[in-house]
Symmetry: C2
DNA sequence: TCAAAAGTGTTCGTCTTACACCCATGA
DNA sequence: TCATGGGTGTAAGACGAACACTTTTGA
């Protein structure tokens, strides 16, 4: 390969992450208001240019930290976007990730900024986004919905464990569907993603719910 | 973004495709012998550098055509690889694709070359590969196995239609598993990927098998 | 002791799995 | 008419969907 060939000179790589959360049964995504050209003032997903000395996932994590203060989040690479005109500055392709996190963990950072430059948006009330981030977001949500069933993607949402009713609400929010309490529990347990702790949590005036924890490792299932 | 910042200057993009075929019950992958540095003389997957004026999939297709003469092949993007040191020349990331094709369609090109520079290798007899192509190949095969069930990826293998027994042999080769004839047929028909033509094909001394065709469009299925 | 929400078990129907028989062809 | 392999049906088991009752807590 000839490094100086004009045909592939001046290319760059974005690492973009759609960070989701669920608050009171509403699925939301974290958006950042751009402070530079291009797309100054527009809302975009978390992300930026990949450095030469970092792997893709590390770059995505660094961008997340730089722009939101979030340090530990599980992210999943799902697709790479490369429309020729997706960036007006130069030829950029974007490696897309998504992750889910407890929204309480990012509030701190937002309050230290003088003006709001990051906020959670319900997925059905997304403003126009810069670059091709609307496309990335749409596909990220689809992938989240596909993969949520057979993985522990939601682990970051519940670092201290979760009860079945809580978990069900999150699944219902993300998949936009209602489930039967008893069957949901059975399905969850059969998927082998979570395990019983012997603790339980109290709500007001109700029977306490058992707390479960996401397992570290999960094995893939075969369809055939 | 500052275009001249050293941190992200001099990046490039590979588009790499693992092209699979099945011959006599053996899953094989197409490898190319490199004629330039780096990795001169090593076997690698089909691919190369993305041009600035083409989309990712178009670039992958162009590389396939340039190096094998194959014009129409369905390819699927599955993962992007970005280890910092994956290319010794400069910082390159590789967008990975895979596809399946009838091996008869590439023989022509191989014979026009003065020396063999492309060949099919059984997936359990792969030589050492240049770059990180061993990793890409491993993951491509995994993805092929995952997605083969619910998609018409195999369409390119059978442009003129396929019989159930043929199709079963291909599934068994790729998934490395045996299936019951009758249940395989039922499963295939229920997946709605193929449709009956009213033709049938003859073998030697046997009852002729019905010919089926892959449908154009397929709809995703929900697990929940 | 009552309301509210959590936990558990059982039945029904559907889809997958295992398996036996019949059919079309060339020799 | 026989061997070979392709096509079809059916019964048993596994899995998911629908549903009723008991338990724990705070008021």
């Amino acid at each position: 390969m000839d490094v100086k060939n004009k045909r592939y000179k001046g290319q760059g790589i974005h690492v973009i992450t759609a960070i989701f959360t669920v608050e009171q049964g509403i699925t939301k995504v974290l958006l950042i208001k751009r402070k530079n050209e291009p797309f100054l003032g527009d809302w975009v997903l978390t992300g930026g240019a990949l450095y030469n000395d970092e792997d893709l996932e590390d770059g995505a994590r660094r961008e997340i930290f730089d722009k939101t203060g979030i340090t530990d989040i599980d992210i999943t690479q799902f697709k790479t976007f490369g429309r020729v005109d997706r960036s007006p500055v130069m030829r950029m392709i974007a490696v897309g990730f998504f992750g889910v996190i407890d929204s309480k963990r990012v509030k701190v950072l937002r309050e230290t900024e003088s003006t709001t430059n990051a906020d959670w948006f319900p997925i059905d009330k997304i403003p126009p986004l810069g670059y091709d981030h609307e496309e990335i977001l749409t596909e990220a949500l689809k992938e989240l919905q596909k993969r949520i069933v057979n993985s522990n993607i939601l682990k970051s949402l519940f670092p201290d464990g979760v009860t079945m009713p809580e978990l069900q609400k999150v699944y219902e929010a993300i998949l936009n569907k209602k489930f039967d309490r008893r069957n949901f529990r059975k399905k969850m347990l059969s998927l082998n993603l979570i395990e019983d702790t012997n603790k339980s949590e109290q709500f007001e005036g109700n029977r306490p719910a058992k707390i479960y924890k996401f397992k570290k490792k999960i094995e893939d299932k075969n369809i055939f």
